[in-house]
């Protein structure tokens, strides 16, 4: 398979995955928007769970089964595509949920359809605009000043669906196109696997970068389309709009079916495989105590890269509601600055890692090669788009007036009121930022591609060590090591969350 064919295959598969993902993300978004309160929190948590299952765990859980499909390579490809799709649907759902309403709403589209049913150039006489109050500007789209309908139905249909779905589709496409870890472990064809193999086989830096032009161009085109839509959409991002109409039963079934299947296939199956072997393999943990040092190192690297990413994302992220038709204002970086800062991360870990790996082999950068600097900076660049997205979401959820009211309440002399204010401030303000920071650190912890390429000698984090042992297949010792490695960040995140939530009260005791 040539590189061009590998790219074309990855492109086709990613488009199919993104399209299928959209078909699920839309009903899932509607179902999730229709619930509120604690139930909404629980459902959103469940829906987002697949995103946080490490590729290493998924690859390990399905490695043996994928190998058993050696006589049915199409089946293996389909299984891989299904797993990737299940994992990225929540991201698409979140993007759709946080997108501003499209310039042409669903009801406006319906009206245009009714109008179109009476003939494409019939005079509307203002009926459409009357039916679409508020942001439903179908009138603007369907009439010129004379009142004559000019835009065909297809155009209006596109303006509704393009604005509503394209950004989410692009994000899902990018995630599918860049995926490399599960693809390697399941031995499916992809441009990432092709390039990594050739790089290991001695491809020179210049040739590697030349090869990257094609996949990076594909991704740039996708990002460009999404940026154009975001810039043209005109509304504020990061606010999840409540549902205005009841959700159809069929859509609830799709959403429920997805949630069940995703949790079962991405968390259930790999979890059972790992837990089954862990008990038998505990002795391996005792024999390989260096693993605990490698876990500690991974935590250290994750906090360093995650913390730095979160800090930089705070500088980059525009203030609430400023990503609009008027541009990406509100950030000290400006529109182009944000684009430049986010672009390397949007190109994926492999493209970023190979480029940096090549650059630090030569003067004048070779002096940093044996330090953690290239790895940490690359992780920051890679994680920055995610951190910015989280900050936008947190900013969207944060209600400034409520936070301000809670801050005023905190100044009250009554200790009980102060306690309530403290709890409110945690819920309204601090929890989102603290949670976002923990998530970015977690992503830094489970990242495999960048440390595989850039970790200096003696600083190989535990997930990469395990990745290098995956050729043993599913054995109990490896299951136990995987369990210990993956349990560590989860335990630390829970302790961190609880600790910070409790800290203000503890401080008050003293």
């Amino acid at each position: 398979m040539t590189f061009g064919v590998a790219c074309a295959w990855s492109l086709l598969r990613s488009l199919v995955i993104a399209a299928a993902g959209l078909a699920i993300a839309v009903p899932l978004k509607e179902t999730l928007r229709a619930v509120s309160g604690r139930r909404a929190l629980g459902l959103w948590t469940l829906a987002l769970l697949p995103v946080f299952v490490p590729g290493l765990l998924i690859g390990y859980g399905y490695r043996n089964f994928a190998l058993s499909l050696v006589h049915h390579p199409t089946g293996n490809e389909a299984l891989y595509a299904a797993l990737v799709m299940l994992q990225i649907v929540p991201v698409g759902t979140l993007v759709i949920a946080c997108s501003p309403p499209p310039p042409v709403s669903a009801s406006a589209l319906h009206v245009r359809w009714l109008v179109a049913g009476r003939g494409p150039k019939r005079r509307s006489g203002g009926t459409a605009s009357q039916l679409n109050a508020g942001h439903d500007n179908v009138g603007r789209l369907t009439r010129r000043s004379s009142g004559t309908v000019r835009l065909p139905f297809v155009s209006v249909w596109l303006r509704h669906h393009l604005f509503a779905l394209l950004p989410a589709g692009v994000v899902m496409f990018l995630l599918a196109f860049q995926e490399s870890e599960v693809a390697t472990l399941m031995q499916t064809h992809s441009w990432t696997e092709w390039l990594f193999t050739r790089f290991a086989g001695g491809l020179q830096v210049g040739e590697t970068i030349k090869a990257l032009v094609l996949p990076v161009s594909v991704q740039l085109a996708a990002v460009g389309a999404a940026v154009w839509v975001v810039a043209a959409s005109g509304g504020a991002w990061g606010q999840i709009q409540p549902a205005s109409v009841p959700v159809r039963a069929s859509r609830r079934w799709v959403a429920g079916g997805y949630l069940g299947l995703a949790v079962l296939m991405l968390a259930g199956v790999p979890g059972v495989v790992v837990l089954r072997g862990t008990w038998e393999g505990l002795s391996v943990l005792r024999a390989h105590r260096t693993l605990f040092g490698e876990v500690g190192l991974a935590v250290l690297m994750a906090i360093t890269a995650g913390g730095l990413t979160w800090f930089v994302s705070g500088l980059v992220t525009p203030s609430r509601g400023t990503i609009s038709g008027s541009g990406l204002g509100g950030s000290r970086f400006g529109r182009w600055g944000i684009g430049v800062v986010l672009l390397p991360g949007l190109m994926g870990a492999l493209a970023l890692g190979l480029t940096v790996s090549g650059l630090v082999q030569h003067e004048p950068l070779v002096f940093v090669r044996d330090s953690p600097v290239p790895l940490v900076l690359s992780e920051v660049a890679f994680l920055l788009p995610r951190a910015v997205l989280i900050r936008l979401l947190v900013g969207g959820w944060r209600e400034s007036s409520s936070v301000h009211a809670a801050q005023l309440l905190a100044t009250a002399s009554d200790r009980r009121r102060q306690g309530e204010a403290s709890a409110l401030l945690w819920r309204l303000d601090a929890s989102g930022r603290w949670g976002g920071l923990l998530l970015v650190c977690y992503w830094a912890y489970i990242e495999l591609t960048l440390p595989s390429l850039l970790a200096p000698p003696g600083m190989t984090p535990a997930p990469v060590v395990l990745y290098n042992l995956m050729h043993y297949g599913q054995i109990s010792g490896l299951s136990a090591m995987l369990f210990a490695t993956m349990a560590a960040p989860v335990v630390l995140m829970v302790v961190g969350w609880w600790g910070f939530r409790t800290a203000p009260r503890l401080f008050r005791v003293f």
Binding site: L67, S68, V70, G202, I303, G307, L469, P504
Partner: protein, 346 residues
């Protein structure tokens, strides 16, 4: 107080994170290996190699940092990395799990000669005359057969090889010991004939999988009936109770293929003395016997006390004596790898 809480809520995450970072960084810098640690690139299976290297560390007091190979690329990744780093070397000593990659490094002027007691101990056929590298602890290329699917004998395998090969598994020949195997065939059959032979087998459905361990797993689980692998992988399957048997692969000249580990000191190392000590340690009888007694059953290539050889390694040692020599195969490997790269990643 709540105002303080509010401030904590606002500044808390960075502050708490900074405290945790300082604690972890302190622990890391207190416990990390010495800056003078010997950096060892190790393509041998880490589960076996790490114990040996850590014992050396304890016995000698010389700290070691191990850099393993990657899942996808086996030893080839480290060989290419050493070539890339030639002008600014990071590694002090290379423990390769096969030989031809190390011979290539010698040709690329990446290695420094060392003829110590370990080099003296190994037979001439397993060492470079100038001391650029020395082989030890070998593995045989073998046929692995699922005994529930076929008879594990040469006749049955020949019969299978003449027909449909969709139930035969072989590792990707661009990497690891399968590359060495192909280099031997390139040398004995010639490039054109090997390519025709390979294409014919692929056409008849031979399954090419990521590595020898995978080929072994497919046969052990019955997904495939037979395949090519190394003795260390075969013994892992046998120890796990899988219905498998093996017999050595023979080249067109009738020889077996015993692929030694190899050790070499990297040109430009600042820790030459420490590297020499580790090289001699790895090439010692004690380490060869230890590798023979491990689950990998590596075959000692130097003189050892036969009484101390495990029972299942003794026949392997006999077959290893019938092996092809690798020292003159560097050109064949290079040409073969060029073809395989065009074949699998054009």
């Amino acid at each position: 107080m709540a105002a303080n809480d509010s401030r904590l809520a606002r500044s808390g995450p960075p502050v708490v994170l900074a405290v945790v970072w300082v604690l972890l960084a302190g622990a890391y810098f207190a416990l990390r290996p010495d800056r003078d640690a010997l950096i060892v690139y190790c393509a041998h299976d880490l589960l076996f190699a790490e114990e040996v290297l850590r014992d050396f560390e304890r016995e000698s007091g010389i700290p070691i940092v191990i850099v393993p190979d990657t899942e996808a690329t086996k030893s080839l990744g480290l060989v290419q990395r050493l070539i890339r780093e030639k002008e600014h070397p990071v590694c002090d000593l290379f423990w390769n799990n096969q030989l031809l990659g190390t011979v290539e490094l010698a040709r690329q002027d990446v290695l420094e000669p060392y003829r110590g007691p370990g080099w003296e101990r190994l037979p001439k056929r397993f060492r470079d005359a100038g001391g650029l590298w020395t082989g030890f602890g070998g593995r045989l290329r073998v046929w692995i057969a699922n005994t529930e699917a076929m008879n594990p004998d040469a006749t049955a395998i020949e019969e299978r090889l003449a027909g449909d090969l969709s139930r035969m598994a072989m590792a990707q020949p661009m990497f690891g010991t399968t590359l060495s195997h192909y280099a031997v065939l390139w040398d004995q059959m010639g490039g054109a004939e090997l390519q025709a032979w390979h294409h014919d087998r692929v056409k008849r459905g031979m399954r090419i999988v990521p590595g020898n361990a995978t080929a072994k797993d497919l046969v052990a689980s019955g997904v495939c009936d037979f395949g090519m692998t190394d003795t260390d992988d075969f013994f892992l399957a046998q120890d796990a109770g899988a219905p498998v048997a093996m017999l050595p692969i023979r080249t067109p000249s009738g020889q077996t293929i015993c692929i030694p580990n190899s050790v070499a000191i990297i040109r430009g190392t600042k820790k030459r003395k420490q590297a020499e000590r580790l090289a001699d340690y790895l090439l010692s009888e004690a380490v060869e016997l230890r590798l023979a007694a491990s689950k990998a059953r590596q075959i000692p290539l130097g003189p050892v006390d036969p009484e101390r050889l495990p029972d299942d390694v003794r026949p392997l040692a006999v077959w290893a004596g019938e092996s092809v020599e690798f020292a003159g195969l560097a050109d064949a490997r290079r040409a073969c790898l060029r073809w395989l790269t065009e074949e699998y990643a054009p």
